[in-house]
Symmetry: C2
Subunit: 459 residues, 2 copies
């Protein structure tokens, strides 16, 4: 990074807000994937106004900007591209500015950690549902930029469903404010939705006004064991067809079950083809209990070998242990994993799982499958060793086949992680040329110099 630019950044945010040593730059060179890219400098502003000045200075110097929160992303969306880009990190903007109980809204800075917001609103009987599994580290700004999901989406929707308003610094440094506390608003284009999920390519989100809901007071959990994946999948359809919308409906396939059992000895039966972990919640204790019992009944009717209901909070935690253990258990199986995030129409789950198994068998690397079955959002994780070039090449071929299989079944590349750098080569295949052209036109209209997160998503 040129000295003049660094000096100007220091003028804007202070000396402690600009990082340029190789050690500091290394710390900001990766996200939750294995992608890496060293930035030219890192800047840590403390206000929307400082972000505006930083973006203006970078734009004048033609320095690309990589907006970033805690770097927990799973698509390399916040990893620097070669050529001296400026990482604009929002973690010092971490204030909860207001929780408005009467209107059930929260106004936060982009760097607030998701679980900090959740804890703060839950103290007041309110609830912020989006729960990406990184929520103890990830920031609200990053969640919005990627339209993050999580297990609760089936019932409660994704991050974008809770965005009422945004403060965004545009490519030329201007500050855009969208939306407001009014729950319904059709005054003009839906700019909240345009910036949500735009992965930092259209503007830098600095503040958000979020919709909250009443905190569900009762929760019930069940775990159902299946000898056949089809039976598990049919149970999912039957539950939803019965008009029950569980708060979560998580699936683990046989490979996932075996990885967890090998690593943690939780007593899971390793001959099972699938586990479902289900939760019902709500404000009516009787209804929540009746729903979980109805779910248990439906699973049994669909050939579940057994269904366990949690009768205490400790039981609930223990049922969730298996699901939570999946990610850590994979690290014991192989040095690296690539976690994909395809989403298929719900009815295509058995078929996509069959095809994923086929891909694994043909190429000889394990694919662990788990995810949000109610949404059709699965995380096939390829286990491999990236020090072995042939395994890496195999993994990349497998990724291509996984995406092709998902798209052929009417699915998508990503349900909640985003496109970033990693899925960019597949984007046109997923969207088609007309959509790509429209997206690029919008990008060009908002960022004609392509300074905001270049190399991601579109270009």
């Amino acid at each position: 990074m040129k000295t003049e630019v660094v000096d100007q950044l220091i003028k804007i945010v202070g000396r402690d807000g600009v990082l340029t040593t190789p050690e500091d730059l290394a710390a900001y060179s990766f996200d939750g994937t294995f992608a890496e890219g060293t930035p030219g400098a890192v800047v840590l502003p403390r206000s929307t106004d400082q972000v505006s000045q930083v973006v203006r200075a970078a734009a004048e110097a033609h320095v690309p900007i990589i907006p970033r929160g805690m770097g927990t992303g799973l698509a390399a969306g916040s990893v620097s591209i070669p050529g001296g880009s400026l990482v604009l990190c929002l973690t010092r903007m971490a204030r909860i500015l207001e929780i408005d109980e009467a209107n059930a809204t929260a106004h936060v800075e982009a760097g607030v950690v998701t679980s900090d917001l959740q804890a703060a609103v839950e103290e007041r009987g309110l609830f912020y549902p989006p729960d990406p599994s990184s929520n103890r580290h990830s920031t609200i700004g990053g969640n919005i930029a990627c339209n993050a999901g999580g297990p609760r989406c089936l019932k409660y929707g994704v991050t974008g469903d809770y965005v009422l308003g945004l403060t965004v610094v545009l490519a030329d440094g201007r500050i855009l404010k969208t939306g407001g506390k009014a729950i319904k608003d059709v005054t003009g284009l839906d700019l909240n939705a345009l910036f949500t999920g735009s992965e930092g390519t259209l503007g830098v989100i600095t503040e958000a006004l979020l919709r909250l809901i009443p905190r569900p007071r009762f929760t019930q959990t069940a775990m159902a064991e299946f000898e056949s994946l089809e039976a598990a999948s049919e149970s999912v359809s039957a539950i939803l067809g019965a008009g029950i919308v569980p708060a979560t409906l998580e699936l683990m396939d046989q490979t996932a079950i075996r990885c967890v059992e090998e690593a943690f000895h939780l007593g899971l039966a390793t001959d099972l083809e699938a586990l479902l972990i289900l939760e019902t919640d709500g404000s009516d204790e009787g209804a929540v209990m009746r729903e979980i019992k109805a779910i248990a009944g439906i699973c049994r009717e669909h050939a579940a070998r057994s269904v366990r209901l949690a009768v205490s909070a400790a039981d609930q935690t223990s049922l969730w242990e298996a699901r939570r253990a999946v990610a850590p258990s994979l690290a014991r199986r192989a040095p690296n994993k690539l976690g994909e995030d395809i989403t298929v129409p719900r009815s295509a789950i058995p078929e996509i799982v069959r095809q994923l198994r086929g891909i694994s068998q043909r190429h000889g690397l394990p694919i662990v499958i788990f995810g949000h079955a109610g949404d059709g959002n699965l995380h096939p994780n390829i286990l491999f060793d990236r020090r072995q070039p042939e395994q890496r090449a195999t993994m990349e071929r497998m990724v291509g086949e996984i995406f092709a299989a998902s798209l052929a079944l009417g699915g998508t590349l990503s349900g909640e992680h985003g496109v970033g750098l990693l899925k960019r080569p597949y984007l046109e295949q997923a969207l088609g040329p007309v959509s790509m052209d429209i997206q690029r036109r919008i990008k060009h209209a908002l960022d004609p110099e392509n300074l905001l997160n270049p190399g991601k998503l579109f270009a």
Copy 2:
């Protein structure tokens, strides 16, 4: 319209699909408002491909296109502007192409009438919640173009919350397909949301893939009478604060109550300041009943004079009669009404109602207030006689004051009707110059010649 253009349209859609006589043009010259504008011609295509050819032909001839469904809009969004525009009416594209029960989706053409879709999916135990009060006439395409709402939005969200995918004919005639049956999708920008609510300015929506939910099996209805509007409003806050989300939560103010009683003699007490009509629904009969009883208790604690619970389906219909009678009763009071659609943060409802009364008293024209209190979405209707120029001028001044009051309280111009022609003069005041610039840039990127619904929303 030039003969060459008309001839070309006839080649595309057939002679019976192009209307040019003064009588036919008159029938397509208005919507649900009192605005009028005679088009140069009307074209009624039968397929996305025909729409594409029509748009291409119009673009070549530089003829502006006004997309339109059944013309039930309440913002003059589908009314022609002077200068020989082409009304592109989608009512002949009225096929329900698929109802996919396994994935709970419906694929429809834009001209399907909303209540026809609702009836078709309800037969299969599914539910399409958005319910604009025009749903027996309005089309899905128009609902999406305006992001229509209705009484059920508080619990179920607006039209946009049910749009999974769209087929859109762009300004140059290309066909864009967005989204798909996968419920979660973060692959690229959210183009579904961009076109939803864009009022025909960015493209012509020809088909939609809609998300359905299980049909709620049980409904309970209550009506609460209040001597003070504040008490009604506090009841609303207390109900939501207790974690209850009613399916509908409708408010009628004193003027609305009196209009209805004068016109239909339903036995409403005309000294009341407010009526609330509330509905709970769901798949658990006990929970639905407990919720309505809890609501009744909360209303009584907040000084409701009386609360009536419907004990039969006939009772339910009778409680709703008062609310349904509002619109027809206004026609008996005055020859014309202008129905606005402001939305304020929920906590500002008492203050906005006070201010609306002040505006009415200062200017001497009645304002009837009713609407969706849980959302803060109110429909202040100004009653006037447009044949009297001074009343019309007064009405226009009142509209300006109503919008100013809403914006000052953190509200918006429109919760569910849209901007169209009528609210266009107030748009910049609501959104500010930066948002206006961004919206215009997007418009220009997608429709550089400003051929799609010119004069509406932005320009």
